[in-house]
Point group: none
Chain length 285, copies 2
């Protein structure tokens, strides 16, 4: 049992396995090779299934694990499983930590720390969950529309305003439904099937936004939604749906990730439209 303490990260385990590869017995070497080549199997299959695939006996797998200092197969498997989640170190777990390790006094700087931390997580999450094909789909819909309508009520309004600002600077025809003078539905009335509706909405989903998205969809106008999770009504009400899970600390949410997604969408659209105009300065108003 040449390994006193087992590696606790996949990367370490990998290194240790390749390091000892030469000195292992025939069967164990066979397992080492299989493990390095099929980390997914190692993480997700049962001992007997892995044994079958690697053409060894189940007991050899146990021996292998013990040779590297683990208690048994299960504890080695944990390390392989870690690899699958560490990219995404359980977003929620991290948040939990953030909340729990926070009996720090509520000084201004502490609050700021926590919100920057939370915003940073939200950005990571955005990046991890981003689906390239959705981004491209959304951009295509915008590029081909005659006019882009934007709705975002209450908490979502700043995002809507930001999109409106940037899109108009790109030279897009764009209409922000800003509900000025209580004209929400009147403003929404001239959404045509050739346009696109960009809807931003978070819990608890302003009824006006829901209704306008519903109407748009019914009449065949593509809807792009930026919302806060798969349980949002906009999942069903949109052609492309971006789920931006803004981190929540003590039930306050930031819009950092939303702003970032919005900016990215607009810039991509800019490239797509081959507006090779001098972008410098456009965004510095």
């Amino acid at each position: 049992m040449a390994q006193p303490t087992p590696p606790s990260s996949y990367e370490n385990l990998r290194t240790v396995i390749s390091g000892r590869h030469e000195t292992l017995s025939k069967r164990l070497r066979q397992i080492a090779e299989f493990a390095l080549a099929n980390p997914n199997d190692m993480a997700l299959e049962t001992v007997s299934e892995i044994a079958k695939r690697a053409a060894v006996q189940p007991s050899s797998l146990i021996r292998f694990s013990k040779a590297f200092g683990f208690d048994g197969f299960s504890s080695m498997q944990r390390v392989f499983r870690g690899r699958l989640t560490e990219r995404q170190p359980s977003y929620h777990q991290r948040l939990q930590d953030l909340k729990e390790n926070s009996d720090a006094p509520l000084t201004a700087i502490n609050v700021l720390d926590r919100f920057t931390e939370a915003a940073s997580h939200a950005l990571d999450h955005l990046r991890e969950e981003a689906r390239p094909e959705r981004l491209e789909h959304a951009i295509e819909l915008m590029a081909q529309s005659e006019r882009i309508h934007i709705i975002g009520q209450r908490r979502a309004f700043p995002v809507a305003a930001y999109l409106n600002y940037m899109l108009s600077h790109l030279g897009c025809r764009v209409s922000l439904i800003d509900s000025i003078g209580g004209m929400t539905f009147e403003q929404a009335r001239d959404i045509s099937p050739k346009d696109v509706l960009l809807a931003i909405s978070f819990q608890s989903y302003a009824p006006e936004s829901v209704e306008i998205a519903t109407q748009a969809q019914e009449q065949g106008t593509p809807v792009i939604a930026i919302t806060d999770g798969p349980l949002s009504p906009f999942s069903a009400l949109s052609d492309v749906c971006f789920e931006v899970e803004e981190t929540q600390v003590e039930s306050f949410r930031s819009l950092s990730a939303c702003m970032c997604l919005s900016l990215s969408l607009v810039v991509c659209l800019g490239y797509r439209l081959e507006k090779t105009t001098d972008f410098d300065g456009l965004f510095n108003g």
Copy 2:
């Protein structure tokens, strides 16, 4: 058992779960929410562990699986596991690629990666540069003012709108100078020395904002500025000045760090005012 054939891909399962979410019983809905929020746990943990984390009985998990057409929990778990193995190249990989050849193709996902990266830096910068005494000074000024006026033109407007939204939900007397109907200066006219002016402005510093801040300062109204660097005219025009250096990628700037700072200020003010109101839900409009 309303689901004859179980979804075989994670994406489908997700869709089906959100689709039926409304109609599920209390416990099953609870599980649906947990599952969508914690797909990693669903993929890797045992029934009893998941049950514990989701605060339900193990048997409910089996019922949940069956409700979606699976034989039992194990076969549903297979779908969640699929997600882990069919992952697209992780964003770390994408970032690596991006750094190695910065003339990487301008795909949507690359653009997003770069902006999230940039936003993340901006947040780090915000945290590093934050001066506790400035935060506290700003909070104190707001706490003691009779009314908070907010101005932010053009690119800064979304931040102003966000502050306006949050502050009004805190119960503060707040006025947003939104320039509606070209009434910028008329709206600014009732800023009194007992109030405070929150000015957000970035290069190239909207003249209206500069002028209003100047007037406010001349008449003795405290000015809090959120701006973009020491060269901003607001350095001189404000009592407290936050310099938020939003990282710039190809001359596009995001507002992520600004939003985060704004949120932090508001939350601190909330604590300061000892509004121990139930904050839950306040920020979910």
